[in-house]
Symmetry: C2
């Protein structure tokens, strides 16, 4: 089913770019980058590039396309009613739910899949680290404690990936290539490359006893909110490890810390948290055998925005051809 009719996309688009002042340079969307990415598609009829604290309201109101890393949903609801497309440069859009602010005639696309190579490397590294008990070794180092516990090779390690979209799917492929047994969890249960066993979320609890490393890589939606809690973590075998590269809200962190403290779980590598930066007084900083990563698993600085803009360029081509768009967020599913 096409998302659009080609006729409404035939004219050169008016584009509005909104950046966050003092944001990370890796996420800055420059005029040049936009023009360069659209070179094979179309010259924009207008291109306005502003920080969010000095908006050009007239240009915003006239725009067909908004490109932004952070969405001011109230402002869009009031002044962006004629937008045809919003390209958000983050992959997760859970903070904008519910999507009542989004006009029926506006499509929202996200940056899902922009850094599959990066996250697949991170997933492999984190899995090897958990297998080799690196979080426990790091915790012991704080206490000058030498404890030599040998670990075998990781061959045949059993990994469950909760959510096998762009992030989880890329991790599945790299772990499969590394010789691990990958179980993928997916709403549809459909097979993916690298997934030896595919299950639907309702079967997770019964499969968890067969899992050495659980990797959370799903979006945060009403369905996945705190979906991994004490019951799920307790169902993992003693010595299992957990990686979270999805969103903090997927997990019950206090249940997680108690499973680490009791020794039921051997380690954790968390890259996402309920609040980021993780507050200084969070108990997670000092939790035993837990490593805090500062949300770095999936973003590479070199070409992040270029890859986001490539999605937009491809979508403009698709729109003109009357085809459905890539990375379109479904407001009812929330991703």
């Amino acid at each position: 089913m096409a998302d659009t009719t080609s006729a409404e996309w035939s004219a050169a688009p008016k584009i509005y770019v909104e950046n966050v002042r003092n944001g990370d340079a890796a996420y800055h969307i420059s005029e040049e980058a936009v023009l360069k990415s659209l070179i094979s598609v179309s010259s924009p009829a207008a291109l306005t590039c502003r920080f969010s604290d000095e908006r050009d309201i007239e240009a915003f109101k006239a725009a067909d396309i908004l490109i932004a890393s952070r969405l001011d949903t109230a402002f869009i609801a009031s002044e962006g009613r004629t937008l045809k497309l919003i390209q958000c440069t983050s992959a997760g859009v859970e903070k904008y739910a519910p999507f009542t602010w989004l006009a029926q005639s506006t499509m929202l696309t996200n940056a899902s899949g922009v850094h599959t190579k990066k996250v697949s490397e991170f997933g492999l590294m984190a899995t090897l680290m958990l297998h080799n008990r690196v979080p426990a070794i790091a915790t012991r180092q704080r206490n000058h404690e030498w404890s030599r516990q040998l670990r075998g090779t990781a061959a045949g390690l059993r990994v469950m990936i909760y959510g096998v979209g762009a992030l989880g799917g890329a991790i599945a492929r790299s772990l499969h290539r590394a010789g691990f047994f990958v179980t993928g969890v997916r709403r549809a249960g459909k097979s993916i490359e690298g997934g030896k066993l595919m299950i639907t979320p309702d079967r997770v609890l019964q499969e968890l006893p067969n899992v050495d490393v659980l990797i959370l890589a799903c979006p945060l939606t009403p369905e996945t909110q705190r979906v991994i809690g004490l019951r799920e973590l307790s169902a993992l075998p003693r010595g299992a490890g957990v990686v979270n590269v999805g969103r903090g809200g997927i997990m019950d962190h206090s249940a997680h810390v108690s499973c680490l403290a009791s020794g039921h779980l051997s380690g954790a590598i968390l890259d996402v948290f309920d609040e980021e930066p993780l507050p200084d007084d969070s108990p997670l900083w000092d939790a035993p055998n837990l490593m805090v990563f500062p949300h770095v698993s999936a973003d590479a600085p070199d070409d992040y925005i270029e890859r986001c803009l490539a999605i937009l360029a491809e979508n403009l081509k698709r729109a003109r051809a009357g085809e459905s768009l890539r990375n379109k967020v479904d407001p009812t599913l929330g991703y």
Copy 2:
């Protein structure tokens, strides 16, 4: 050149096994394991299995073959003069140098190559960890410090492996497969599988500026003692990382710590130290961006001794066929 003549090996051997009391179970050499490993080669004429603190001196004196994880060189020099072969179950034998205690008629073999799969996984993990600045992230976690520094993918990373014998050679293959550019350092400079560039030790200094991760995997010999010092570490580009899975004595640790403290090096993963366990008051425990691993990179517990004994079994076959032995230590080279 054959190490031996087949005639002296035709009789069933008398074997003496020496274990260390209260040693790690993974290194215990049991009678059953010896018998099982030799099943296709020969039944021993005698098999004596003792802890080192309750020796059977008569059996020791009569033995042809000694299997031991720790060598009591003075005792061997006085009571083991008729030994034909000593199978040491550690890979590094530097602590037994110089080899003046070893009779001309006794061959010494080591466990080199027993865990190439294990160390190749560790090398890949450590390289990805340094690329992703995990040692710095772990150091910051101690201070509850969130600092988001994005890193690109590791593709094309330039890794120098100092010593490409059994350990380093296995790491070279796995890093090459992962898409990294591997430079191997080898006395002979001969090519190895996975090594894009092979150099001799005298060229190391000029190549270090082109290296992102330096992995030390050589044996400790008079030639390699403190071979990586301030001059070598300073020749690495800013932001480089260092892994040591060889021996502590290869490195100048105080030069290393000062290069980490100054920020010239981004991180270190050390698995071997001058003294092990690392003493409680060692400055390495708290050095910034340095991770202390308790000598776990190359030993897997599941089948360590079985694999050592497989070397012995193969060597018995070779000896009978008048062929040269695997893993024979050259007393002049020290490995």
